[in-house]
Symmetry: none
DNA sequence: CATGAATGAGCTTTCATTCAT
DNA sequence: CATGAATGAAAGCTCATTCAT
């Protein structure tokens, strides 16, 4: 987005480098400390996303990280400490992705479509994001509330939408008085729910919500819904 | 709703009677087997909703039911068997509540508002419904797919909405070609997400989403959104 | 002692019966629940006495009891709960032994000798008593303070000594104004220390304090000391 | 004591200086190796005295010393090696304190009182001494027996008492034939037990044995007891 | 001289479940 | 119909110690 500076924070799991770490086994010392830590964080993200907090045992994680249980305590202090860092990293990556969005406020309709497209796409491609959030909500946000860094990652999406709503209103295409937070929640809710409840929904709807056409259809429906909600004269 | 017969199925956890057995202790024989079973089912619903499947231990449940572990196996065979019955009971109650909705298809706008109001209200008053569904989705629907009775409780809500959409289209107030499933998902998603992600959202939005005014505001926004989506000339 | 009723409380580890429990292995169901519990309590007494609280692992205990770790938690809830019961049982047995003492208040000198003899003998024959007390004192009495039954076992020895001191004073052989608590502590201290610090003492004294003659010598010295302290005209 | 040369050995934990190094952090090189070593030894003394050998973990010690685990192995080889040095240091300090006692053999009664006063005071002011000795006795003296320097610190107290007993006997105020070791043990036992078993005793006696008046009363009782034991005509 | 990284074995405790009456 | 007793496996975590620079 033109109006926002782009400086994605460093992220462990986002880093793709990793040099010489192919097929390393515990016991060999070739790997750097940072690599071990990153491996654990990455593995924990997957395991917690897949099995939840209780179901995601430290053994599952250490095995997935090709390390040993003990290292989790060495680097993260406790299972909870590790989970908190997983959440922080998850938010950081989401933040970075939002910051990387390039939008033109002078074209509010197209840009709003772009935001929706981004959100639908991000949730679809990062299913971990959804299950991790669900897990944290099951625990009533107790872990993220312990994070000191969590506040730093307050989603820029709402600010972006506010900008677009104001621009659109100025141009006379959007209704005035729209609350950015509401529009943000509308987009997030529809994109989130579709992925979050996929399994129970398909048990009753009898459809495969993962099919590309199904996803595209839902994305278009969201776009229609949002535009009809904010525009004065929807197409 | 006028067009649907009302025959709520028997539900363990919906039953509120059972007063005579207050202060009963395990070990006394006075309580009927049905009561012990019901106590466990009710307790399990709460515990699973609160702690998830892995976090909801057999011991937590038996203690909450003022019974002993052994009884869970006596009545439900296994922890998984109990969880499946909890899910079935949860769906049954949702079904019953939807069936109890009285709507007039000749007034599609008011009725659609009524549906939204019902969904928002139900999710708000039955937070267990949300966390149980999330838990089951974390497990990719593996438990509900094992249920033989699950299919019986396919939500009548979509059928209701289809009826209203058709009636509104006939009357010339609703756009034609609207897909009932999409509208249903839109309503469910917005109502669900608001409750489901309450804890993580409030950590960043800094607002109390539980406040009655906040809930009312969100309900009104959903109504506006849905009506602007389906109506030809929204108010 | 003539003036005290004799009704030793039931004690797990004091019971010698144990019927059919010879050579039982875990896995066979022949043993009664009470036997398993008793075995654990008895084994825990030995292990805690030998290795201390931290050093006395639940595995050591369960093996010594020819049972498994899990049963400790089944019957005692936690390692700490088990240790508390060990302490209670230890006090109960000491109590019972003191109650079984038969003394004649009309012969205060002989009876006082009898008390000393008993204490020296009891400490010598029950080294567990000493190390368990040391362990509990290392923990600043935190476990025994959690015991509800602990108060019931307040040592009758002081009351006995008070009786003897009063009788002796009446007869004109003991100094008047002697405090029973002081005399009790004097006896306990000398008998206790000799056993408690045996190992470090013998490292420096270069003597075997366990030798029967050494014990007899020390007992006689205590008797001399106590009598010279309380008697008007010591022999 | 006049008759004994005064040459207190160097003691790590007795040194109180070290002021310039306040607020030093591990990682900075400004501190001398000797300081790090001393910090560990001092910290270990406290931790072992408080938690026992098993309970006194390497981590607790290194944290208390504001150092890291690795340094313990660097300087002391092992946890056991550290504990042995703690014991040696403890004995050395006791030795030094005894050597610093100034007594006049020509006044045996007053000097004996002085010895008792010293012992009672030392135990009272150095509770670590007691719990460390108890811990070592729990381990049956296995650590101190591995110490090569331990023998060097054989308590001079017995020799002192022997001197006083002989002097008193010569003067006709003390009974002849008294064994110095017995008198020493009597004093040590009474002073030791009072502190060692403070916590369990107060649980039953219901008194605060730490109160200055209580300590003074006990010291006086010990003095009376010892004098009545050794004197021909006690006051 | 000093230290960050790593580790295997052990710790207490909890898990869901079955045995046996 | 109901239950006390028992259990193997696994959980999260801490232990003293060594590696490698």
């Amino acid at each position: 987005m033109a109006t926002l500076s782009r400086q994605p924070a460093a992220s462990a799991t986002a880093r793709v480098s990793d040099k010489k770490s192919a097929a390393r086994r515990p016991g060999t010392r070739e790997q750097s400390a940072q690599t071990t830590r990153d491996n654990i964080l990455r593995a924990a993200t997957k395991v917690f996303a897949r099995y939840g907090y209780e179901g995601g045992s430290v053994e599952k994680i250490s095995q997935a990280a090709k390390s040993v249980d003990r290292m989790i305590y060495y680097y993260f202090g406790s299972k909870e400490g590790l989970f908190i860092e997983v959440l922080e990293d998850m938010y950081r990556r989401m933040n970075d992705a939002e910051l990387a969005l390039v939008l033109d406020p002078e074209q509010p309709v197209a840009s709003l479509k772009g935001v929706i497209d981004f959100v639908v796409s991000y949730y679809s491609k990062n299913p971990e994001f959804i299950t991790l959030l669900n897990t944290e909500n099951l625990h009533r946000g107790k872990h993220i509330s312990k994070s000191k860094r969590a506040r730093d990652y307050s989603s820029p999406a709402i600010a972006i939408i506010r900008l677009l709503l104001e621009s659109g209103a100025r141009q006379g295409v959007f209704r005035s008085g729209m609350v950015a937070r509401d529009v943000y929640l509308l987009i997030a809710a529809t994109a989130y729910f579709y992925n979050s409840n996929r399994h129970t929904l398909s048990a009753f709807l009898g459809e495969d919500l993962k099919a590309p056409e199904a996803i595209a259809h839902w994305r278009d429906f969201i776009i229609t819904t949002v535009l009809r909600t904010v525009m004065i004269k929807p197409p």
